[in-house]
Symmetry: D5
Subunit: 92 residues, 10 copies
């Protein structure tokens, strides 16, 4: 079951650089694990913004919320979720 | 080069049903041709709305505008385009 | 799996009264069938508006879109869907 | 009498972790007491957000404001209240 | 129990003048009856707009929706309802 | 001459509690003096929000601005003013 | 007493040209009478838009609403009114 | 003196095709005349939209309004004008 | 050449009172100098807000930007500029 | 391939002046290098705002994101990107 997810990152301007780097490193590892597991099949940077558009492929709303709320950057993210359905003109 | 495209369809309420069907049939054929050519690799319905989110894969801004403005439904579409870039955490 | 759905009804001002009544009668029958089946467990009027907030309980995004797009009033509805998850403080 | 209430939580990024935990523990206890009393019959997490949609069942506008303004998290909440009425198509 | 209600009137530009006058005459009579009954204690024109701000004093959300949805102009109104509570600094 | 005024209070999260209490006490006294003088005839809490809707009855735009800008909470208020006129359907 | 007023003109696209010209001629005459009387001391076109910003100088909210609602174009105007006060740094 | 201008075209859906073509042909000729005169040095299509971003180079606000309001499509355009100044980092 | 300018002042809540007073004193002197020179012919307080609407009369976009960016309060201002043109119904 | 880019600068109010100057100096040097290379052919100040509108001329979405995210001011910028295409009425 697919969802389009937009995430905008808002790090506090007074966060120490090493703390920011540590969180981003954990975020990257977490994200790549989910990508390899097929839960997070697509991840794109929005040009010019510290933000991404992603496609998640999960079993339920609850699973999606669990995955998102465990993001190391979650306290600093503004997230918008759009549930997707099969399009009648899709060839897939 | 990838772009996220959202299309909302607004058909006039007084359009005759057969005219609407004819346009939608041409739209479907056009869309499926672009999907098969790899220009429109993803097409999803937004749950509850007469709208879609799509990913387009084209050579340039000009090619994307040409593809979109040739949509049979183009006069009745509200379209928003977001250019995408590679995300540094993507495994692809 | 639960979703909060808001529906705003926008009937064209020139729709003949009997046509409007006929659509609304079919909408009511359809809605009550889904309520009895447990798919649409809650349906509330928004005070002062020709609109409702509803809770849907379905198996998937695709099932929800199918149910909503089959609403007799669908061509005249503005619909917003919010996926819901279990709240950690809920006693249910 | 029913109301739909949306609450978005905005904790200051410099709030000490133990203070945040203490407030959230009181919030949970307070919420569960109101749920058991039937005042707060429904509480859902919005997928991907630190926010909830809730249904409150109270005697009056004043009672609702008293309940909400006594939430331990109230100073950090953005709250939107929508009064609900019986829907003529509801089977309840 | 008090509510602030804003009503914006949007009459179709092609409504015949006598039909508009007839609806407005019924609206005025209906409004004045509710004012005399104490249900609609305040009614003000918003300067420069075909709109009003009103205070309603009713027993419940359901009563308010019934009163508003029976307005002769209801099909042409955009209505926003804000529930009000006693203010701790009010001298009343 | 009447105005509808909405005030939303935004106290800085790091304001010491006793300073906040002192300002609120002065705000209450000031508000109640204006209410007794008939300048601020109505004051309501918006349900669920740290905000109010008020009716002011003053001689001029300048008098209203003077009254509002002298509110002890003024530096922390977001204020929106709507000028009101007599409504032709009002029985008053 | 001064007010800033913004007016946006929205004529129906199917209004006959001579009817539009007749209304605009009456609007111009009415506007110039109010300008000569000192009620409408300033009137500017917003560059690129069929809209104006104006300053009105009137005795009361009621007078302003009467003047605006008597504009021949009033049924086709979207009007926003901002009450103005003396600025402490003004040299006038 | 430079201005950024965004124009969105909204043709009525019931405008006859030949009337639309005739207006667009006059628009194109008018636009190209201004481009050759140096008044309209840049004109770009916004990807996916029936809209453009343009740079105008004129002597005054009044000249810009005259040029824009003489566009054959002006009655069907939504126009937004942003005045531009020299940027201190520009090498031009 | 005239422009309508709206300025909203947002001073940081932790700015020392004497620093704020010093900036405001320089702002007032600067403003009054421009008013006396005829560059800033009108300056009004927006009722209830720490904001103003002003008319500037300058030679060019560049001159306007220079005047505004030299305001002592500029780092704390949110400014919106609307270019104005002569209105065909104006008697001036 | 052209893009319109709007950048709004939001420096934290507590950033030391010399740090701000150092970043702005690097920003200017970086910007002028890109201008000389033809990547950033146009750069304009928005009148009254600490913001710019720019045209970028790049090979791809990825190149644009790389150029923008390397701006020394990037952590303090709100950026909006609009892809542009050739306009059929352009004489270029």
């Amino acid at each position: 079951m697919l969802y389009l997810v937009r995430m905008d990152v808002h790090l506090p301007s007074d966060m120490p650089a090493d703390q920011a780097e540590e969180i981003k490193a954990r975020e990257k590892a977490y994200s790549q694990r989910l990508q390899r597991e097929g839960k997070w099949p697509q991840l794109y940077r929005i040009v010019g913004e510290y933000a991404n558009y992603s496609i998640f492929d999960v079993e339920s709303n609850d699973e999606l919320h669990t995955l998102l709320s465990n993001l190391p950057l979650f306290p600093y993210l503004e997230i918008a979720v759009t549930p997707l359905a099969r399009h009648p003109s899709s060839i897939h």
